[in-house]
Symmetry: C2
Subunit: 387 residues, 2 copies
């Protein structure tokens, strides 16, 4: 098994294979049931097998999926993205987050005729050589024009931009700092303003990588929360409630360059995923899915904070409440973190000790309360073993 879904990266108790999902619950290949806080690593945002999304999928499947060109769903979805996302004057669609971030890099370089891309140290933007967090199978040249800066550090960003000089094509920023195993941080106002300002001065593209966070923090794009609008955004995970889709949105300034690059894939025009996205985005707006996830995320955070105090366990919860990470104090080897998660797993709750977790609109107060019963027992075990 490869990539982020390899259970070899997880404690032994974690299952590698799954058999079924329904709402916020999933079942492993041995039939064990879990309340899921990974949500298929993000894509599941309304619940597994959401009835409205599946109905749209059924309807589209009666007509067709991949044909010799797109269906009208593509136009409808591009219009919906432009209507929903304030910075967007156009949209194009792919299959994965990496497709979307790579297309953003190409558009930025094509538009500016410059080469340097600024990426934050430790930020994840995909799993191909130009941005892969692991060097295996890549060459030095794949990253020849990547310059690193520290997220939320204006001075470091300014230094990176100065190093790029007049060869700056774009600045990639994660929706928020969500590096693996690190405290999650929202972008601070001065950092966001500095990024926007450098791009305005140089003509470089400000690119928000909203693959992980898109449609979970704000329907208009995550940086609406700091009031800064990007030139380009990359979207994927939560766009179609689990159906394979990526998207790039952009403003007028980058429209022509987006039309000049050659990017494509055999399945990029598949209408079923687009029908799923239309149904999913409309439903998220209708039911106020972001608010729902925030309320349940806050309930979980408050509950765990109280339990941690009561057990005398020092931990830190960070990230937006609907995309949390829980890190234990003095736990560099993650023994506390994985003990906590394993104890929760035994009690039917699927958590992760180092990666961003995800709430969905299918998590109810009863699900959170059931979860808190398990985390209370898990924290008791952490307290006992690390007393």
């Amino acid at each position: 098994m490869w990539g982020h879904q390899s259970a070899a990266r997880l404690p032994d108790a974690y299952p590698q294979f799954f058999s079924r999902g329904e709402g916020c619950r999933l079942w492993d290949a041995d039939g064990r049931e879990y309340i899921d806080f990974m949500c298929a690593w993000g894509p599941m945002v309304l619940g597994y097998r959401d009835a409205d999304v599946e109905a749209a999928v059924d309807a589209q499947r009666q007509r067709g999926n991949g044909l010799n060109g797109p269906t009208e769903r593509l136009v409808e979805l591009a219009e919906l993205m432009v209507e929903t996302v304030p910075h967007a004057d156009w949209a194009m669609f792919q299959k994965n987050g990496t497709d979307a971030t790579t297309a953003c890099a190409m558009i930025a370089r094509e538009a500016t005729a410059k080469r340097k891309l600024l990426l934050a140290t430790g930020a994840y933007h995909g799993a191909v050589p130009w941005c892969n967090p692991y060097p295996n199978g890549a060459t030095a040249e794949d990253r020849a024009h990547v310059i690193r800066y520290e997220y939320n550090d204006d001075a470091s960003l300014e230094r990176a931009a100065a190093e790029a000089g007049n060869d700056l094509a774009g600045i990639f920023v994660s929706a928020f700092k969500h590096d693996l195993g690190k405290t999650h941080q929202r972008p601070n106002q001065s950092f966001a303003a500095a990024a926007r300002n450098i791009c305005d001065k140089t003509g470089a593209a400000l690119i928000v990588d909203d693959v992980r966070a898109g449609f979970r923090l704000h329907m208009g794009g995550s940086w609406e929360l700091v009031g800064v609008r990007p030139d380009l955004s990359a979207w994927s995970k939560a766009i179609a409630n689990g159906y394979a889709l990526g998207a790039v949105t952009g403003n007028e300034k980058f429209r022509e360059a987006a039309g000049r690059i050659f990017v494509t894939g055999s399945f990029w025009c598949g209408a079923v995923s687009m029908a799923a996205a239309l149904a999913s985005i409309r439903k998220m707006k209708d039911i106020g899915a972001v608010d729902m996830m925030q309320r349940m995320g806050q309930r979980l955070r408050d509950g765990i904070a109280a339990q941690a105090r009561s057990h005398g366990v020092a931990l830190q919860q960070s990230g937006p409440v609907q995309m949390p990470v829980i890190l234990f104090e003095n736990d560099d080897d993650r023994r506390k973190g994985w003990l906590f998660c394993t104890e929760a797993l035994k009690r039917g709750i699927y958590l992760h000790a180092t990666h961003t977790m995800f709430l969905s609109a299918a998590h109810t107060a009863a699900d959170i309360d059931r979860t808190l019963e398990a985390t209370d027992a898990a924290l008791a075990e952490v307290a006992r073993q690390f007393a």
Copy 2:
């Protein structure tokens, strides 16, 4: 519209949007019906909305698609690929052809700790900077370690390998030479043997890019036809009858390296596409889909050849009969080719003048005969206008 599905690259008569597919027929957004010889640019191989594939999709959708890890479908599909493809000792799955070719490049470099990749001039291996046929949005460094050779030219391949010296990671070969607008050529025996021999001597990976041709020429991989087995193969289009999937198969020599690279995508473990692939590959074997496509492709080729002679139009049909390209003599500006296709289009037949076309197992003798009525009229018009 971007990429290969942009109708801006086609004559005005060609529709941009489609509404429906069924068997070998598709309908554009204005309701016009066509017998389709592009097959969604390859993926449709058993017919749009094939009942058996759709039943497998229905069954899987009742259980789930993307979960926190793969379902048992992944194991079943890997086993089926290994059983079906003689060179394969293992398989891994992605979403697009470009994902698969890029993973092959990474595996070759990781396994050999070398960098140079040999690619044939004009060969298409995907739409990202390291292999994109168009330079827009790429930097020179993206191709720093790519060396070109001429397909089917042993001496040119030997020269390219010599240029790589002791830094040769892999040789990419298309299943056959299917460059846009060029005569298609099967790999000749001495070229195939030379490629295998260089890799055996140097330890480099012989990589067959079977994205376009895979499962249309031979169920065991296209190079079974020349009796040469690759180390790695990239698969995508025809693997799941239109559902989004890519695959890499490899032999034991490259297994460990494949496990050491980090490649992943949010939707790569989606079980619905894998269920579709299982049903599609099994059905293709059961019904002898390759033979069916060959018989219908031969019927089409013979018919058009006879018509061309009778109209006194000089044309060349090349490529395997089930993946043909039809090029007219003295037609550098493609006016004859696109006139032919446009006249056929008016008569309900969807052809392409420069790209590989595709037969499917859903094309019947009656469909081919109906097509030949249209091509006869279209060739008459070519003869009339270019007399």
